[in-house]
């Protein structure tokens, strides 16, 4: 079943029930169904073609996404918080001829941005649709493909995770079971819907026939009002909770009637759980773990274990099998470190147009997550970092070597190193250590980063150094860079 088919079903069974809310607006299942059909109608004569979606978070975004599903095409949501050049990079690798956008984004990005597309469809907030141009071209795609989510598009080569109707529904159903979601529940969607976590909130609550209140984290007064407006399940990444906990009184008040606080996109720490407990003793805390390659979620820590086992990822969600493998793909005993692997209907079909990358991640039907892990004697799983050098900034997985390459290729300097440093809200941010040339200017470097990297990757500081941080085996690694950074800081 496709996700949008659930909307059709609820439009018949419970037409008056509210599906989506945003600010002062709300829309019932029957009106949502009607609008999806209007928007889908000019897409109907495309046969399983790729459609980029460029839309801000909100009711409108959900309509566009569901219209692409309804017309049996393939949705490729663009993360609009990325700088334009990252979006162009994604578009270059996605080979996409068609785009559907909102009038807000059309005027923000301007006509020239849309020149590359054969088909441009602009939708305004009253759901009227303007087809600026239309060119139907035959495409060869994986027959099961429905949605492509981009993981690392900020720097380096973006990777498009291919998901099917089956994987979207399977993961939605698992999440429904873990959190006990019903049609009575109202979800708070304040994180980006263009990525796996936000997308899974939309899927699971629409499958359950419940409602979703959409907002953002920009203005704290508005966020707390949103939470206090009858939301029963709140979703946030750890940085969301850190930001909210800065206002303990408001937190206490807003969360009084919230049933569940779920998290994903990064490990919750004990401190966050403890603070939430003190302010909202009745609130159920469910830390979850996953990755885009698994549609969204893979594991969860049951609410009753949130205090004791918050440093683990808990156990597999229903419908998923997790294991830890050694380098020869054999399961290891508890307390032995290996790579976390996963199996289930939610696992990706592969990476878009990249069979080599797919072959490295899916081996004998198991998704190799790249996360190092150990099984605990009670069956829970603990993570121990990455197999590769990826680091987690906010809720984004980033490759520091790719950021370094991007900065080096576009600036006057001899060498740059990305250092993970701690950050009040994001948990981790980055600083740069630079081996300068005579022409290196720190101001210009900062300006380049602001313009070319998304906000969470802007360096907190830029330090000039004069030699390479090398580890014992002569290779540059996160560890050698962090050691050198501590050394430089200690000597200042």
């Amino acid at each position: 079943m496709r996700i949008d088919a659930y909307i059709t079903e609820y439009a018949r069974k419970t037409p008056q029930n509210i599906a989506l809310e945003e600010g002062k607006n709300s829309i019932s299942y029957s009106c949502l169904e009607k609008d999806i059909n209007i928007i889908a109608s000019p897409l109907m004569d495309f046969k399983h073609c790729r459609f980029a979606i460029l839309a801000e978070s909100g009711i409108q975004y959900v309509k566009l996404l569901m219209a692409v599903y309804r017309s049996e095409n393939i949705a490729i949501p663009l993360p609009i918080e990325f700088p334009e050049f990252s979006l162009e990079r994604i578009l270059d690798t996605a080979h996409v001829n068609n785009i559907i956008t909102t009038d807000t984004q059309y005027s923000r990005f301007g006509e020239s941005f849309f020149e590359r597309f054969g088909t441009v469809i602009v939708c305004s907030s009253d759901s009227s649709v303007k087809v600026l141009r239309k060119k139907i071209e035959a495409e060869i795609n994986n027959p099961k493909l429905r949605l492509v989510l981009y993981t690392s598009g900020t720097t380096g080569t973006p990777k498009g995770v291919m998901l099917s109707d089956r994987s979207l529904v399977a993961n939605g159903e698992s999440i429904i079971e873990v959190l006990g979601i019903t049609s009575k529940d109202k979800a708070a969607l304040i994180i980006s819907p263009h990525h796996a976590f936000g997308n899974s909130i939309i899927d699971s609550h629409l499958i359950a026939g419940g409602s979703i209140r959409i907002g953002n984290m920009n203005f704290m007064d508005s966020v707390f009002n949103l939470i206090g407006s009858g939301v029963s399940i709140f979703y946030g990444v750890p940085s969301t909770y850190r930001m909210l906990l800065k206002y303990p009184d408001r937190f206490k008040k807003a969360f009084t009637n919230v049933r569940t606080a779920a998290s994903a996109g990064g490990g919750m720490d004990r401190e966050i759980v403890k603070e939430i407990r003190e302010l909202a003793p009745g609130l159920e805390i469910v830390p979850m773990y996953g990755q885009t390659e698994a549609t969204a979620r893979l594991a969860y820590v049951p609410a009753e274990d949130a205090d004791k086992f918050v440093d683990t990822i808990g156990k597999a969600i229903p419908g998923v099998a997790l294991d830890v493998f050694d380098s020869e793909y054999r399961p290891v005993e508890p307390n032995i470190t290996g790579e976390l692997v996963a199996r289930g209907d939610n696992i990706l079909l592969g990476y878009l147009d990249d069979e080599i990358a797919t072959g490295k991640r899916i081996i004998d039907g198991w998704l190799h997550t790249g996360d190092l892990a150990q099984k605990l004697p009670n069956g829970y799983i603990r993570l121990l970092g990455r197999k590769d050098d990826l680091i987690k900034i906010g809720d984004h997985r980033v490759n520091p070597r790719e950021i370094e390459k991007l900065i080096e290729e576009n600036n006057e300097l001899s060498k740059v190193f990305v250092v993970p440093v701690s950050h009040e809200f994001m948990g981790t941010a980055i600083s740069l250590m630079v081996i300068p040339t005579e022409k290196t200017e720190i101001e210009t470097l900062f300006a380049f980063c602001r313009k070319s990297l998304p906000g969470y990757l802007c360096p907190r500081e830029i330090l000039l150094i004069d030699h390479l941080p090398l580890s014992e085996n002569g290779k540059i690694s996160n560890r050698s860079i962090i050691e050198e950074y501590q050394h430089v800081k200690a000597s200042v």
Binding site: I80, T104, M217, D221, R450, K451
Partner: protein, 81 residues
């Protein structure tokens, strides 16, 4: 008033995604135009509190007070009295 505004513009040029050449109208939305994100806003707030020795009550953390140069300037003027 103008002085406060210039000071905020300088801050944004140095600490947000705003370019030196960008011309921002007083009423332009900072978030819709991709100039600042949620974490950037919290940092801007800390900066304002320190610079103007004011405390911003939580119920003032709204788009009206924080999403435009005009809103921010008005809010500071009001609170700094």
């Amino acid at each position: 008033m103008e002085q406060i505004k210039d000071c905020i513009i300088d801050y944004l040029k140095a600490n947000s995604f705003m370019d030196k050449e960008t011309h921002l109208k007083d009423s332009d939305s900072l978030t819709q135009n991709g100039i600042i994100d949620s974490i950037g806003l919290l940092e801007l707030m800390d900066y304002i509190c320190e610079k103007y020795s004011i405390e911003i009550p939580e119920n003032m953390l709204t788009p009206e007070n924080f999403d435009s140069l005009q809103g921010i300037t008005n809010m500071i003027t009001k609170l700094a009295k």
